[in-house]
Amino acid sequence: GSGSGSGSRSVGPNGVDEDAIVLMFDNIADEDDPYVAGMEGISMLCDDLGIDALEDIRVLVLLWKLGANEKPAQISKEEWKKGCIELRVDSMAKFKALLPALDTGFLDRTEFKDFFKFCFQFNRQGTHRTLDKDLVTALIPMTLKDRVPSKRLSTFCDFLTESKDESYSRITLDQWTSFLDFCYEVEDIADYDEDTSAWPVLIDEYVEYLEELEKK
């Protein structure tokens, strides 16, 4: 019959090699679940790309662009396929070529907001809907570098670290996204009016903290 030998490749829309895409995924897929690539596999991918899985924000940007939304700390096969097709990457070389474009500087405010939200969602652990404070103080400088004045970032992390409030040992999504909005909207805390603000109490208390610092 008409043969499709091992040599023929399926070329999908966008002119990308879907089989190659699937093959790349199989390389990084979990041992127990071929449909999911967890942090181990993702680390391997990073190694191949020559970027630091833990420190380089481009990892998160990449996963975000690929659309790893279903569950934290992993990307599914479907998501991988769809994402790679959209990004038109079907080889390591193409991934490497993509790296410069993963700079967050290219994102406008709306896109960045979405990315920032993804950073939270992706970093959740297990069934938790919140992030541990320590993780937050690590992520904030990493994700918001160059987008938010560093003074703001460092004082916020100090504030969180120093806070003895039990309820701040975990940070919610609302608090996370509100912090970014706050940085955008309130550059000078003299403009901050707690009575009319709907900012989370965390932000109110952070502003109090900054005011105390100013006094000293």
Partner: protein
């Protein structure tokens, strides 16, 4: 003949015969056909005659009297006016026929009107200023205490009134207006001298007198229409312009009067200032500040006491002082301020400020609840039924000013439970009365649990007889009764799973079976930390009836017969934790009645101690009550906080369900307005909003960070959960 008639007419009255003659003459003259009809001429002649008479006779006479002093002028004017009225009257009578036909036919002023007009233009207009001045001068004399000829003044006033030709314009413009001005000047002078010299009460007495006098003056000889205007002038000058000075006068102002209980002076002040629009507001302000300061004094006294005395949840002195303060000023407002709403508000605002100022460890809500406990428990204050109700009434009034009413309710409920379960409530009726007073203040929901508790007890006593019969059947050696409590009505209590002596567990078993039979679906959970027992203890030759708790009875039973047990052994045998066993053993070995000996002896229980029944125990009393420290806190603060969180969330859900989208400040405002029993900080409300955002019931609006929307669609699970608790 006419001329003569007039001249004569001014002094004599006409006889009937003469009258008829003249009348008929006129009639004849007017009824003839033209050119013999004399109507027009007669009319003209009438007018001319009067005119001539006035200008030639009356006016000179008046002129002669001017410059001789006001009264003389007035007297002459009165005389002339009186004459004129008579003349007018007779002329009108004579020439009635003219009036009836000629005047009407030609639409001319009537004879009477014509007569008046002539008087006005020839006499009145020329004299009115001077005579007004004369009158005003007389009035001022009268004000100074002189006696004046009121009749004379009154008749001149009548002249002014008549000169209005039916209206009051002449009076108003020519007499009243100058009167108001001169009155104003008069009282300005008076005020300026009084205000410097007189104390506020003295000044007010003078002002009151002045107002009364002016009112009488109007009644005596002025036109009624002047009363309001005249009094208004006095009020403005004597009261309004110096109100603040009077109220704040050093040594005699409003605050001083309050401080010295000057009831009559305060009453006068109130009556006078209520005449002014917004005259009472500054006064009510001072009253509020005064009551506040008295309240703050009471609070300061408590603060001072706490520096030397132990801080406890019971401070009857403090509560009584507040009640007394409240009662006192309730009375003052009623008697001195006619119960006026402005002053009631002043009292309320002052007390809201005072009652919510907490000092020390315990809130005023708790102090007030404990006060009720004293009133309601047996062996507390010795009060008659009427006194009890009075006290409760007054406490509820204070309670109405509390912001944290829910905290009061929680504490009250706990204390009520204690009273009920330990049978220390003095009167079931009194308990019901108090609950119904709270219900009236706050609604059914507020008191539903308390009422549930009372209901449980009522049911319990009903069922007791039935169960007693059952118990008899089983030949139990123990007298045993059970009180069933409905969960939710009562506070939650610790329930140690103590190991009970067999006799007790047998009784419990019998009850359990009986209860299950009656109420198959209900589940029973025993709370041994709450029960009471009566234990007959024989120490040597003497026996005592000891009123103890269930746990104490169990411990005594364990030590029966003279055994010695260590703390650890007891803990194991009875299956009790240290936190329970320690207070338990303390009550038996370190309290007033040391029925158990502790080795080594001390006032503190250590886990190394050992215990034995005290063979040397003796007391003069046969019946001993051996109290034990409560194992549960006085109330559950966490519970109150949790209930508040739920109430706030329920309010947010209710509001957002109706509005769908709402701006932040509006949401906060509406939540606050819906919460009747406590007032949370906006931050607390914000936290609940955040919680609802986290649970995905609410979301922040995408285009406006200050706005909230209900999530679409709202997760059903969350919604039901909240609404059930609402």
């Amino acid at each position: 003949m006419l001329d003569n008639g007039i001249k004569e007419g001014k002094t004599n009255m006409f006889g009937a015969k003469e009258y008829v003659t003249i009348y008929t003459t006129c009639y004849d003259m007017c009824t003839q056909r033209s050119p013999y009809n004399w109507s027009r001429d007669l009319y003209q002649r009438h007018g001319e005659t009067i005119e001539n008479y006035l200008t030639q006779t009356v006016l000179p006479a008046l002129r002669e009297k001017t410059g001789q002093g006001g009264t003389i002028l007035l007297a002459e004017l009165q005389h002339r006016w009186s004459n004129h009225q008579i003349m007018n009257k007779w002329l009108k009578k004579f020439f009635t026929y003219l009036d009836r036909y000629y005047v009407k036919h030609h639409s001319l002023p009537t004879l009477e009107q014509a007569g008046l007009r002539h008087f006005k233009s020839h006499i009145y207009d020329g004299t009115k200023a001077e005579s007004a001045a004369a009158i005003l001068s007389l009035i001022n004399e009268e004000r100074e205490g002189e006696i004046i000829d009121k009749t004379l003044v009154k008749s001149i006033v009548e002249l002014y009134e008549s000169m209005g030709m039916g209206g009051l314009e002449a009076y108003t413009a020519d007499l009243e207006s100058p009167l108001l001005d001169s009155t104003r000047d008069y009282y300005v002078k008076k005020r300026e001298s009084w205000i410097v010299v007189d104390s506020t009460p003295d000044y007010l007495i003078k002002a009151e007198r002045a107002l009364a006098q002016e009112k009488n003056r109007v009644a005596d000889y002025l036109n009624n229409a002047s009363e309001t205007k005249l009094l208004r002038v006095c009020e403005e000058e004597l009261l309004e312009k110096v109100e603040m000075q009077l109220l704040e006068k050093e040594g005699s102002g409003c605050r001083v009067l309050l401080a010295n209980d000057k009831s009559e002076d305060l009453r006068r002040m109130f009556t006078l200032f209520s005449r002014l629009e917004k005259g009472l507001n500054p006064m009510a302000d001072i009253v509020q500040k005064f009551i506040s300061s008295m309240g703050n004094d009471i609070i300061d006294k408590r603060k001072a006491r706490l520096e030397t005395e132990k801080d406890k949840n019971d401070d009857p002195k403090f509560v009584k002082s507040l009640i007394e303060l409240h009662e006192k000023y309730l009375g003052v407002i009623k008697t001195d301020f006619a119960g006026h709403s402005l002053f009631q508000k002043a009292l309320k605002d002052a007390f809201v400020e005072i009652v919510n100022k907490n000092v020390g460890q315990y809130t005023n809500a708790e102090l007030m609840s404990t006060f009720c406990d004293r009133v309601l428990k047996s062996g507390g204050e010795k009060l008659s039924e009427a006194e009890v109700e009075e006290n409760l009434d007054r406490i509820v009034q204070l309670f109405s000013y509390l912001t944290d009413k829910d905290l009061f309710a929680e504490i009250y409920r706990n204390q009520l439970a204690k009273r009920l379960l330990n049978q220390r409530s003095a009167s079931d009726d009194a308990e019901k009365v108090m609950i119904s007073k709270l219900k009236m203040q706050c609604g059914t929901h507020f008191t539903s649990k308390m009422e549930g508790m009372l209901a449980d007890l009522a049911v319990g006593s009903d069922q007791k007889t039935e169960f007693d019969a059952k118990l008899k059947q089983h030949n139990s050696k123990l007298d045993f009764s059970v009180q069933v409590l409905t969960t939710g009505f009562w506070p939650t209590y610790k329930s140690p799973e103590v190991v009970l002596p067999e006799q007790m567990s047998t009784c419990m078993g019998i009850f359990k079976d009986w209860h299950e039979n009656k109420h198959a679906k209900r589940k029973l959970a025993w709370i041994h930390s709450l029960g009471n027992a009566s234990v007959r203890g024989t120490f040597g030759k003497k026996s005592y009836d000891m009123q103890v708790t269930t746990l104490q009875a169990v411990a005594l039973d364990a030590l029966n017969g003279g055994k010695t047990l260590t703390f650890t052994e007891l803990a194991e045998k009875l299956n009790l934790e240290e936190s329970v066993l320690k207070p338990l053993m303390h009550s038996l070995s370190c309290g007033k009645y040391k029925v158990v000996t502790k080795t080594p002896a001390s006032n503190k229980i250590n886990s190394t101690d050992s215990f034995k029944a005290n063979p040397k125990f003796s007391s003069n009393m046969r019946k001993l009550r051996i109290p034990m420290a409560s194992l549960d806190a006085s109330h559950n603060t966490k519970r109150v906080e949790e209930d508040r969180s739920i109430a706030i969330e329920a309010a947010i859900v209710r509001i957002m369900k109706a509005r769908k989208t709402l701006q932040h400040q509006q949401l906060i405002a509406e939540v606050l307005s819906q919460l009747a029993f406590f007032k949370p900080n906006p931050r607390v409300i914000k936290k609940r909003i955040e919680a609802l955002i986290d649970r995905e019931y609410l979301e922040r609006s995408k285009d406006n960070n200050n706005q909230y929307n209900v999530s679409s669609p709202p997760p059903t699970v969350v919604l039901i959960g909240i609404l059930a608790l609402a």
